[in-house]
């Protein structure tokens, strides 16, 4: 299949400090691709520049062959790329239903079916339809954040640390959902510190360190890699 996302020699700097130092990355359509690495490796910055929240210094980001550089976030969302931001960031004082409607903000067509689709994926959200999002548990908020992103009908969903701060059992559930979303034909680009789970789930993985890509390969292959094991999985060489 074709590459839905291509990043070419991307450089991003905050002030004088380069957070991303010229990376190349491709995401094949219909796959789950993950970007693992420790704190400050530049993972989030990479996602933010794809979403248009951060302006890159140089390089190019192609979505479906079209450059996303210079486009505003709303234009990028309407081309089919949505970000599930780090730390869930649901709209706490809006109801679950309103949160989902915000997800479909840029769509002009009917959203009723997609809403049902999201509720089918997350029955818990249906139960809490009229509840304020701030009253949900962490796991439920993460479901809502994912559901909200799906409401934009994206072709590519980017998730920034979906397992952050969640109980292990809930994390497992979240990864099941990621696989389910992928089965429905949506490409997923996933950032994780929980390298173990991410590598098990992903078709293709990139390992990032201090702004550069250290290695890449199939998820399961990297899981066996001695260097990765030592650095990210907490297993000795």
């Amino acid at each position: 299949m074709a590459n839905i996302l291509e990043i070419k020699n991307l450089v991003v700097s905050y002030g004088g400090i380069e957070a991303v130092k010229g990376i190349d990355l491709t995401v094949e359509e219909g796959k789950i691709v993950t970007l693992v690495g420790s704190n400050g490796a530049g993972k989030s910055t990479t996602l933010k520049s794809i979403a248009g929240l951060v302006k890159p210094k140089s390089g190019d980001i192609l979505f479906n062959g079209q450059s996303l550089l210079g486009k505003s976030t709303d234009q990028i969302v309407s081309t089919g790329v949505t970000l599930v931001p780090e730390g869930r960031r649901v709209f706490a004082n809006l109801t679950v239903e309103e949160n989902l409607r915000i997800g479909a903000y840029l769509r002009k067509d009917s959203i009723k079916e997609d809403m049902e689709e999201v509720y089918k994926l997350f029955p818990r959200l249906k139960e809490r339809e009229w509840q304020l999002a701030g009253t949900l548990s962490g796991g439920e908020q993460q479901m809502l954040a994912v559901g909200r992103a799906l409401m934009a009908k994206p072709r590519l969903v980017m998730m920034d640390e979906p397992s952050l701060g969640l109980a292990p059992l809930v994390v497992k559930g979240i990864f099941e959902i990621i696989k389910e979303i992928n089965r429905q034909g949506i490409t997923v680009l996933l950032i994780e510190q929980n390298a173990n789970m991410a590598l098990k789930t992903a078709d293709w993985a990139y390992v990032m360190q201090t702004g550069t890509i250290l290695m890449q390969g199939e998820g399961k292959e990297l899981l066996e890699n001695e260097e990765v094991k030592a650095a990210y999985l907490g297993k000795a060489k």
Partner: protein, 371 residues
């Protein structure tokens, strides 16, 4: 949820009709200078301005303190456009009768007949005031809306002060009458006409708040970054909220001018903005019902019910030594402190009238929250 909607709408409609009926009754029974009529008129105007401020501060999360400035623009626009032509020489006595040589109520009277025409003319003048405020909001919004929280508040407060000084400038005298009063312009009528017109404006704001745009505003208030990631254009929506809020503040300013009978830039001080902010906070940030109820409570107690505290007798208690000038404000301050202490989120929190009427099961708002 849906089932209750009909019952709620009926109850709300009944409440509004009763209020309106009372206003009509008072208009018919009492002279127009009676304190009850005055209080209703002023409170209605304040509720419109408070709701417009709530749209910005409560629903969009932009802390702006420029309300008095936008009200001033609306007030001057209304006054300048509706002073009758034959009175202009008297009003603009230091500026050769001013440069505006027409009066909208008179122009429309010529087209639509005396009564209808002059009301239409007054409303058109109010709208023009609102539009001027909106236009100015657009222009100052370009630089100012890049600022966040307190910085935005300081910048908008500064704007309001500049406008106030600017309008007293002698060089603008032919238009604004410099630092002199503008007067002799017509008033819309009794308390009921104020309530109808302002009810209409507030209904428009209510529709806006419950629309897709309103939801986007609330999303921005809750989490700017997430809202942006969902494809909400922050700059565009903030500007929109600022312009709409200023429009209604301008209209409210025009109506305040009508109510007061005279306009002078000097009276649109920052204290006016603080008064309105107080109403918004006490009513509940993010509750239109709260702003309206508090406007009426605040104006009624300040202008009427607590007057006795300044003049020697209150609730039948005679204490000329204690109840003298200024004691009223001391009591008001204590009341406000109590409200702030015991109603942390204001009288209404972020609930509306319709939320109060709903069965308990569906009102998760205002309940316990765990982030």
């Amino acid at each position: 949820m849906k089932k209750n909607n009909k019952r709620e709408s009926i109850i709300i409609a009944v409440i509004l009709l009763v209020v309106l009926a009372v206003a009509f009754y008072l208009d018919a029974k009492l002279p127009s200078y009676h304190i009850a009529i005055k209080v209703i008129k002023k409170a209605a105007v304040y509720s419109l301005v408070a709701v417009s401020m709530n749209l910005l501060n409560g629903f969009t999360g932009l802390f702006s303190l420029g309300q008095a400035g936008f009200m001033l623009l609306g007030a001057y626009a209304y006054a300048v456009l509706s002073i009758p032509v034959d009175k202009r020489a008297g009003v603009y006595q230091y500026f050769n009768g001013g440069i505006v040589k027409f009066s909208l109520p008179e122009v429309f009277s010529g087209i639509l007949g005396q009564n209808v025409g002059s009301v239409v003319g007054m409303i058109v003048a109010l709208m023009i005031g609102g539009l001027i405020a909106a236009l100015v909001a657009y222009l100052i919004g370009l630089p100012v809306l890049r600022l966040k929280s307190d910085y935005l508040a300081i910048a908008t407060l500064g704007f309001a002060e500049i406008v106030r000084a600017f309008f007293q400038w002698n060089a603008l005298g032919p238009l604004t009458n410099g630092s002199n009063l503008l007067k002799s312009y017509p008033d819309l009528g009794g308390a009921s006409s104020y309530l109808i017109l302002i009810g209409l404006f507030i209904a428009i704001i209510l529709l806006l708040v419950n629309s897709t745009y309103g939801r986007a505003f609330k999303a921005i208030r809750d989490d700017e970054i997430a809202a942006e990631a969902m494809g909400i254009n922050l700059a565009h929506h903030k500007r929109l909220a600022f312009i709409i809020s200023s429009f209604f503040a301008g209209v409210g300013g025009g109506m305040l001018a009508m109510y007061m009978g005279t306009v002078q830039a000097l009276s649109f001080k920052s204290t006016m903005t603080y008064e309105i902010l107080l109403i918004v906070v006490i009513g509940g940030i993010g509750s239109i019902t709260g702003s309206v109820i508090t406007s009426f409570l605040y104006i009624a107690s300040l202008e009427w019910l607590l007057r006795g505290l300044d003049s020697g007798e209150f609730l039948g208690i005679q204490a000329p030594g204690l109840f003298k000038n200024g004691f009223r404000m001391a009591v008001v301050s204590v009341i406000i402190m109590c409200v702030v202490l015991f109603f942390r989120k204001g009288i209404m929190g972020d609930r509306e009238l319709s939320d109060l009427l709903k069965s308990k099961k569906h009102t998760s708002k205002g309940g316990a929250r765990n982030g």
